[in-house]
């Protein structure tokens, strides 16, 4: 197993991009990793079939935080259909490191949670009120 704490991973962990919330998200979901207690919630704003904004919040290790941050960067501006088709391989490729079995959950929790969000009602309808994020267990 090579070094997983590359400069990029540590930088994204310590200075996460796309971290925060969206004022009027059209879809959101929360994911939880019961084995380590990590959690992530993801909000997106979808209009005209594209993800115009994507943000995440949560607490996690370096791998899961970097994975969330990189995934949000990747999907912002992406077509909804394309984002829905993102594979595990795509998500892992963003990290640019070899991921051991023990860390797979950390690396893939953001993708699962994003898919959960995008799976709701086309992901395009505005959420009314302070939408309650749907829990997803990994």
């Amino acid at each position: 197993m090579g070094n997983i704490y590359t400069e990029a991973i540590v930088d994204y962990y310590q200075h996460p991009r796309k971290k925060g919330t969206i004022a009027e998200p059209t879809a959101q979901a929360s994911g939880h990793n019961p084995s380590c207690g990590d959690s992530v919630s993801i909000q997106v704003r979808v209009s005209k079939g594209r993800i115009s904004q994507a943000r995440f919040m949560g607490s996690g290790c370096a791998i899961s935080t970097a994975a969330s941050s990189m995934l949000m960067e990747k999907v912002e501006g992406m077509r909804l259909s394309e984002a829905r088709n993102l594979s595990k391989k795509d998500a892992l490729a963003l990290l640019g490191i070899g991921i051991s079995h023990a860390r797979l959950n950390c690396a893939l929790l953001p993708l699962r949670t994003l898919k959960e969000a995008l799976g709701q009602e086309g992901g395009e309808k505005m959420i009314k009120g302070p939408g309650k994020p749907k829990e997803r267990r990994s």
């Binding site: 197993m1 540590v10 310590q14 380590c36 207690g37 990590d38 290790c61 370096a62 935080t65 860390r103």
Partner: protein, 416 residues
């Protein structure tokens, strides 16, 4: 106290301790999760399969009789190890969790009614919390928890009297798998007995590490696990007072636990088999019997003293590091060899992964104690836990290696 060679000399009995992890010497500090097995235990299990393997009980042939003798012999060794009055009081289960489920399921049926009270603590492993939550729900009872004083890491003794008043069952851990706290079980048991409550003790983190005598604890039931005390996985023990076990209904049903079956009903077998349905974990029980012999020879008093020294060393070395926060009692005399900690700027998962690159095995996560971890104000902790085969230089290497974590995340060690 058993006299003999220093405990470090016993390292040679554990082949796995000479393993290398990516070229680095293995420093195994995850003993609260599972311990390693000495050749004496491994050899006994292999010998059983090579020479005696057969199903136990009701066998007329030689192998079955030998297997039964070995299995029941292990029960006797284990009974002696914890000071039980009779091997009938030793019930084999598949692990401590199953033992606690048996206690919660069966004892609550006997002892708890609607509107009544079960008491546990805030520092329980899920296996001694969730079964009681479920039992309380089934019987319309309520579950109240003795609180942890966050400043000391000890149970808040001020609330004992009020909480225990009127309880039907009090179930608590002898030693916390996160905080390390050793609870005043004998004192709590005495208070509970005055209330007429039964006392169940989770000994998963105490029986392997200190002399535990069920008579002096004053409890009614004690659960522990084989693989955390040099035995194999797949075997746990529930000890219970004979007269209590006699009155408790069976937990699992099927072969071996019955004395007579008709198409419409069944009569239960005698103790302890009433609680052992199906083919039991034979090799595992024999392995655990051998582990008890091994630990007895090493000396439980010496084991406790050695682990206390290691814990004191770890607490002292970590307290010198200002960015490290240790959870639980600061006094090694009040805790088992379990040191849970956090580091500023580093997630417990990453701490464990970076230490692994040095060959050091520690665990990270909520350690199956989610409510307690949340109460500590964190999502997870890293945990180093010791056994008698660990050395002071391993503890020093572990403490020194936290510098590697700082190196990755650019943290700076501060004075405490």
């Amino acid at each position: 106290m058993a006299q003999g060679p220093p405990l470090s000399a016993l390292r040679k009995d554990f082949p796995i301790l000479s393993r290398r992890i990516d070229g680095k010497r293995l420093v195994y500090l995850d003993n609260a999760a599972t311990t390693h097995k000495p050749v004496q235990v491994l050899g006994r299990i292999e010998e059983y399969y090579r020479r005696e393997n057969a199903n136990v009980h009701r066998g007329m042939h030689t192998l079955s009789q030998e297997a039964t003798d070995a299995y029941e012999g292990a029960r006797e060794r284990i009974a002696r190890f914890i000071g039980a009055r009779s091997p009938k009081e030793i019930i084999f289960t598949k692990n401590a969790t199953e033992a606690l489920n048996l206690a919660a399921g069966s004892l609550s049926e006997l002892a708890v009614g609607e509107g009544e009270k079960i008491v546990s603590t805030e520092m329980e492993h899920h296996s001694n919390l969730v079964p009681w939550q479920q039992a309380a729900r089934r019987h319309g009872a309520r579950l109240e928890l003795l609180e942890v004083d966050m400043r000391t890491g000890l149970l808040d003794e001020g609330t004992f009297k009020e909480k225990i008043a009127g309880a039907k069952i009090v179930s608590l851990t002898h030693s916390s798998n996160v905080l390390g706290t050793i609870n005043p079980v004998a004192k709590i048991a005495a208070m509970a007995r005055k209330e007429g409550a039964y006392v169940v003790v989770d000994g998963a983190q105490s029986v392997p590490h200190m002399r535990v005598d069920v008579g002096s604890l004053g409890c009614d039931m004690l659960a522990f696990s084989g693989h955390k005390m040099c035995g194999p996985t797949g075997i746990g023990v529930l000890w219970g007072k004979e007269e209590l076990l006699e009155r408790m209904p069976p937990f699992l049903f099927g072969g071996d636990m019955i004395s007579e079956v008709t198409f419409s009903g069944a009569k239960w077998n005698d103790l302890p088999w009433k609680f052992e349905a199906g083919t039991p974990p034979i090799a595992q029980a024999i392995g655990l019997g051998a582990a008890c012999d091994y630990l007895k020879k090493a000396g439980m008093g010496r084991i406790r003293a050695h682990e206390m020294r290691l814990t004191k060393l770890a607490l002292s070395l970590l307290s010198e590091q200002g960015d490290v926060r240790v959870f639980g009692p600061a006094d090694a005399a009040k805790k088992g060899g379990v040191v849970a900690f956090g580091m500023e700027g580093a997630h417990p998962h990453d701490i464990a992964a970076i230490l692994d690159r040095e060959g050091i095995a520690v665990r990270s996560g909520h350690h199956c104690a989610q409510p307690l971890t949340r109460k500590l104000g964190v999502f997870a902790t890293s945990r180093a836990s010791f056994y008698f085969y660990n050395t002071g230089s391993e503890v020093e290497f572990f403490a020194r290696s936290l510098e590697k974590v700082r190196k990755v995340f650019g943290g700076r060690r501060r004075g405490a």
